[in-house]
């Protein structure tokens, strides 16, 4: 763990991920000073709790983006895992079986994504889009259209409970970030992922196991989307087929706002944490102002572009 901290500190110094945190701190400060309600502890707590749902998905997305992929099926997987877990848990299975089944299926989807990208050579964007579509259909068939509700105590306390005043969901997110950070920044597989993201031909010619790396990234991403689905199930107590939709593009936005290059091969997982928090904070800020929805979206778009201009530009030559 101390290795991770040291490496992260070194990587963050003067990097774009550090910018994400800088901007986050400034925005938060501005919010506390100039907007109502952002100085309350309960709001803070709620913000990090709800940011965790997005954040967990975004951590997975980072793994895929670093190796120059993209996963548009996360929305489908979030719904898949929640729906399956709820249905199993509310039926005969019970909570533990439900969670296991949900995660196993999520991982399977990740494997399918990777197989399509690696073996069939379908571009990641199209492949994951297609699996997302297939998932939506498959879930309709599976649920026969009526997703269940379920109270799984473990998930309930995971989503809503607190540890020393800190929401468990946030703790879980940070834990996941630490594990994924170790995978990406310390382990051999992580190095392979960066190499693959920086250039496939050179990676192949250096003996990087392309297939295995892609599988690890896609399966981890799908697993994390599955975890997010479970936490959401705990949070809302119910599942629905559309519950993952908001996380598809927002997870990508978080990754990018966190300073990770969308082209792959460059970035830091911690940046994504900052990115997800920043995005959640911005949305919350905009919500707390009484603007029309159109203006709100314009402001959000302009803000994101502005931030990216400040620290996410790709240098040439």
């Amino acid at each position: 763990m101390s290795g991770l901290v040291a490496v992260s500190a070194a990587a963050l110094r003067g990097s774009r991920a550090a910018w994400a945190f800088g901007v986050l701190a400034l925005t938060w400060l501005a919010a506390i000073l100039f907007a109502d309600g952002f100085d309350s502890v309960s709001n803070f707590r709620y913000l990090v709790q709800t940011a965790s749902f997005l954040g967990i998905v975004a951590v997975g997305q980072t793994l895929v983006v670093i190796m120059s992929g993209i996963d548009l099926s996360v929305s489908g997987v979030v719904a898949l895992s929640a729906v399956v877990c709820a249905k199993v848990a509310s039926g005969t299975g019970g909570g533990a079986t439900g969670i296991t089944a949900a995660l196993a299926l999520s991982a399977l989807v990740g494997a399918v994504n990777a197989a399509g990208v690696v073996w069939l050579r379908v571009p990641p964007m199209v492949m994951t889009l297609a699996t997302g579509t297939i998932l939506a259909g498959a879930l309709l068939v599976y649920t026969d259209g009526s997703p269940s509700s379920a109270a799984v105590p473990l998930l309930d306390s995971l989503a809503n409970g607190r540890l020393l005043g800190v929401p468990w969901a946030f703790v879980l997110w940070l834990g996941i970030t630490a594990v994924a950070g170790w995978l990406l920044h310390l382990s051999r597989t992580g190095r392979y992922a960066f190499a693959l993201g920086a250039g496939e031909s050179a990676a192949r010619a250096s003996g990087v196991p392309l297939g295995a790396t892609a599988f690890t990234a896609y399966v981890s991403c799908a697993l994390l989307a599955g975890v997010a689905g479970l936490v959401l199930l705990g949070f809302t107590g119910t599942s629905s087929l559309t519950m993952g939709n908001p996380y598809q593009l927002l997870s990508i936005a978080s990754v990018v706002l966190g300073g990770t290059s969308i082209l792959g091969g460059r970035g830091h997982l911690l940046g994504t944490v900052g990115g997800a928090l920043l995005l959640t904070l911005l949305t919350a800020l905009l919500t707390s102002w009484n603007l029309s929805e159109g203006v709100r979206q314009v402001v959000l778009g302009v803000l994101i572009i502005g931030l990216l201009l400040v620290y996410a530009r790709e240098r040439r030559t």
């Binding site: 399509g116 069939l120 050579r121 379908v122 571009p123 964007m125 199209v126 492949m127 889009l129 297609a130 699996t131 997302g132 579509t133 297939i134 939506a136 259909g137 498959a138 309709l140 068939v141 259209g145 593009l249 990508i252 936005a253 990018v256 290059s261 969308i262 082209l263 029309s292 929805e293 159109g294 203006v295 709100r296 979206q297 314009v298 402001v299 959000l300 778009g301 302009v302 994101i304 572009i305 990216l308 201009l309 996410a312 530009r313 790709e314 240098r315 040439r316 030559t317």
Partner: protein
């Protein structure tokens, strides 16, 4: 003569498969709808497909430059909204409304292009953020479905005008313009920048200008798609554009446009869009359960792309 045919065929090998697929679909379609080749059917179908084809043409233009446009759906909605609301005010006839809508779309494209060219931000990121921006603007222009398009025009578009399928004519016109454009310096520059940006820059090309021009052209195609959709539906709807983003990408990729830029032809994209359009229609005719329709769509997309990659890889070796 035969030589010319074989040369033409060789130049289009990548499209032959797609063409064959299209033929198969047409035959199947004919089976369900024997009136397929009647003028009325041609009018109806072309009216239906025109917006997607035009949107895909816009997406293709950007992809040829090595970019991708995730804000396409939003810009399409914006053009549609401007067209129908301006017309609703009765302030100067359809032509002015169309010109205005087109200008707005071109401007939106140029803004995207400027951000990509000057800011050094990856296109996918710029257009993702811009999608918030443009859909926000759309909501400001048109907060809820409405607007107005002259009934005569709607009727002429959807049911033919003195026996002429207007959408088909519009499509032919646009393709002719593209073909012409493709042989101008601007067209060649588009491919040159898409194929090797730095090389083009080092060889003295105004790569930034070319990019902005390309994105603006994409905006024009998208704007036309929006106007087409407005005329088809007789109104505007601020949220109707969204699905066009991903559908246009699917059509372009199916049509052989590379994600890396510089490779592909507009005719491929048109075929790709037709295949997607016909396929969805065919699924309606076959009466497969709606639950399974999504699954089948996804599977077919992946299968078609995988097959295409496989075939072209064999051919390339």
């Amino acid at each position: 003569m035969r030589e010319r045919i074989t040369t033409a065929a060789r130049g289009n090998t990548d499209l032959l498969g797609l063409l064959a697929l299209l033929l198969v679909l047409l035959v199947a379609y004919q089976h369900y709808d024997p009136s397929l080749l009647s003028p009325a059917s041609v009018t109806i179908l072309s009216a239906q497909f025109l917006p997607l084809i035009l949107a895909a043409a816009g997406q293709t233009t950007v992809m040829l430059l090595g970019g991708i446009d995730l804000s396409l759906g939003a810009v399409l909605g914006l053009a549609m909204a401007v067209f129908a609301t301006y017309d609703a005010r009765g302030a100067g006839g359809v032509m002015t409304a169309a010109a205005l809508a087109l200008c707005v779309a071109v401007a939106a494209g140029a803004v995207n292009g400027t951000l990509v060219a000057y800011a050094g931000l990856p296109p996918i990121v710029v257009t993702l953020a811009a999608s918030f921006l443009w859909s926000g603007v759309t909501l400001v222009v048109l907060p809820q479905p409405g607007g107005h398009v002259p009934a005569g025009l709607v009727d002429a578009y959807n049911n033919g005008w003195y026996g002429i399928a207007l959408p088909a004519a519009a499509l032919a016109l646009v393709l002719a313009v593209w073909k012409l454009l493709r042989t101008t310096r601007h067209g060649l520059a588009l491919y040159a920048v898409g194929g090797n940006e730095h090389g083009a820059y080092a060889s003295g090309l105004h790569t930034r200008g070319v990019k902005i021009g390309g994105y603006a052209l994409a905006g024009a195609f998208t704007g036309l798609a929006g106007i087409g959709l407005a005329v088809q539906t007789g109104s505007a709807d601020p949220t109707i554009g969204t699905p066009y983003t991903l559908n246009s990408i699917a059509a372009s990729v199916l049509g052989g446009i590379s994600f890396f830029g510089g490779v592909g032809r507009m005719r491929g994209t048109v075929l790709g869009a037709l295949v997607i359009g016909l396929l969805t229609n065919l699924l309606l005719f076959t009466g497969i359960s709606p639950f399974y329709q999504l699954v089948i769509q996804g599977v077919i997309l992946v299968a078609a792309l995988a097959l295409k990659t496989y075939v072209t890889r064999e051919a390339a070796e």
